[in-house]
Structure formats: C-alpha cells, structure tokens
Symmetry: C2
Subunit: 177 residues, 2 copies
C-alpha cells in the first residue's frame, strides 16, 4: 500500500492541542504534518491512504477481492483486451502478483482468458459482464471516498487541485527513470 514516511493507512490522527495534562512534553501527534521535511509528499501520501485504504477494506469485505485482484478488473474494464504482462505494466506490480490475481478472478468468473493465436507465450484477457458489474460497484466506492476525503476544498479549489494533479501526474509518468 501507499506508505508515507510515516505510513498513514487510514486517516485518523489524534488531535490534542488543548493543552491537557501532558507528562512527556509536546504531545500533539499531528505535529508531523507541519514539521516533516517533505510536507507535500507527506500530505499526498496521507490523502492517498485516506482514500484508498478504507475502500480496499470495503472491497475485500463486500466482494472478497484483494487489491491485485481488483487491479486486474480495473485495468481490464478500460481496455477491450490485455495480456497479464500489460496489466503488470499498467499497474506497476510484479508479474507473479498479477499472475495469481488472474487465476483467482478467472476462477470467480470475473475475467476470461483465451490463448493468443499469434503468440503462444501469452493469453488475452477480457473482463466478463460479472466482472464489469463488480468493477462498477467498486469504482463507485472509490469515487465516493475520494469526494469524502477531498470535501474540505470548495468547488473552485477542487478544480484547481484536479488540474494541478493532472499536470503533475502527466509529467511524473514521463519521468520513466
């Protein structure tokens, strides 16, 4: 999962800036937000974790899919056909992780696999209607949580953030070190 220097998985941070009895000196556990040496990276990962971790928990709870399995569905729901290697490349996950996820989603009937007639090494993967329906529900979870976490911004700020993220992500994707 996304992890910050201090690996925020969810979102709660105890705020106790009320000057209450505090035996060990400074105890506002949110101080890291402002004192850390890389506040932008910190906040980006914090927000990312706040969005995706509860959603992945819910996807596992409600649909029985773990992260790489949903990864397969999410990729296949936006391309008519992909190989396992394609999914690994898109998602930047190891091939063996994707291989396992493909087997499980295949067994559950969420995707289907056909040998590639032009290349005996690879197989062409497609999402099934059941898989697409599941992805639709899961994507709604994610979209809803995205709104929830970013609700502190007003409409204009929200648009600005979106535009900046778009530009930054496009640049980052081209970095390809």
């Amino acid at each position: 999962m996304l992890f910050c220097p201090t690996a925020f998985h969810g979102s709660e941070v105890t705020a106790m800036s009320d000057g209450s009895s505090d035996p060990s000196g400074s105890r506002d556990l949110t101080a890291l937000f402002d004192t850390v040496e890389f506040p932008d990276a910190f906040r980006i990962t914090y927000l990312g974790n706040a969005i995706i971790n509860p959603v992945y928990d819910a996807i596992k709870r409600d649909f029985g899919l773990i992260r790489p399995e949903y990864t397969v569905l999410a990729c296949l729901s936006h391309y008519p056909e992909l190989t396992a290697q394609d999914v690994a490349t898109i998602s930047r996950q190891p091939r063996n992780t994707i291989s396992r996820a493909v087997h499980r989603t295949l067994a559950e009937g969420y995707i289907e696999r056909a040998p590639d007639p032009e290349d005996g090494r690879q197989a062409r993967l497609r999402i099934t209607p059941a898989g697409r329906a599941l992805h639709k529900k899961a994507a709604a979870y994610m979209a809803a949580r995205q709104e929830e976490v970013l609700a502190g911004l007003d409409a204009g700020e929200r648009r600005t953030l979106g535009a900046l993220l778009r530009k930054a992500a496009q640049y980052a994707a081209a970095l390809r070190e």
Copy 2:
C-alpha cells in the same frame, strides 16, 4: 504500500500513442489516467507512489532500513519522546509492526528505550544521534524525490498545490471516521 486501484508502485508508464502497429486494438497503456472513474484519487496515489517507492528502495539499499523501521525514526525525530503506541497512532500502522521495528532500530542503535516510571506497561523511546543522522539523510532522499516528481509544475503552481494539499490534508485528518 500506497496502491492505486491499479497500484502504481513506481512511476514509469509506457507511452505509445504513436499509432504504431497494434494488433489488439487500443494499446495506449496510459489511457487509465483519463478514463478511470476517480481521476483525482488515481493521480494522488500515482504521485505518492512515484515519490515514496524509489525512496524506500534506496533507504533499504543504502541504510538497511525497511519501511516501518524508518517510520519509527521519522516519528521520533520530530518528538522528544514517544511510546511505541504513539508511533503506531501517528503512523497508523499496527502495533506489532511497530514493535518489530522498535526492536530492530534498538538493536542497530538508532533509538533508545527507557521504562516509563509512571506506567509499567509502556516504555519511552528516544532517537539517538546515530538515528537522527540517518533520518536526516533519508529525509533528504525523500525531499529530493519530491522535487523531482513535482518538477512539472512551475513555482506558482507548486505553491498553489502545496496550499491545497495542506488544506485538504487538514480536513481529512479531522474526518476520523
């Protein structure tokens, strides 16, 4: 690790919008950026992963610290004294993960532990000079990578992004569901 719906760990995405020979239809593997149902969450996690994953790899390679171990150092370098539970709360990681990390960083001499005279259950943790020196180097890695990944924005955009992230993260931290 931070994981997007499609779990971007690093940052490279193959761009091939050159209309080259493409047997299986649409093959621009960056399409997800624009077609995914939650583009903001997607880009936030993408950027987060692009920053932190290479850095954690480098921290492991150069200093032999894994993520939770660096988490302990990062937390302790911003507070004079914390308990293991404090670190777990701040970092939102399981207590057993932090417990292990405390043992290892203790053994390496990066932190020190003293029993709490007022509460026999807990121990007070402090960072040592060696730990602080290590954190300083690691934090420089993170800050440098942050700049690298966000270099697609100009100074003004960068400031705006920082302000929006600050506001959004503050709100998200207060969500505490």
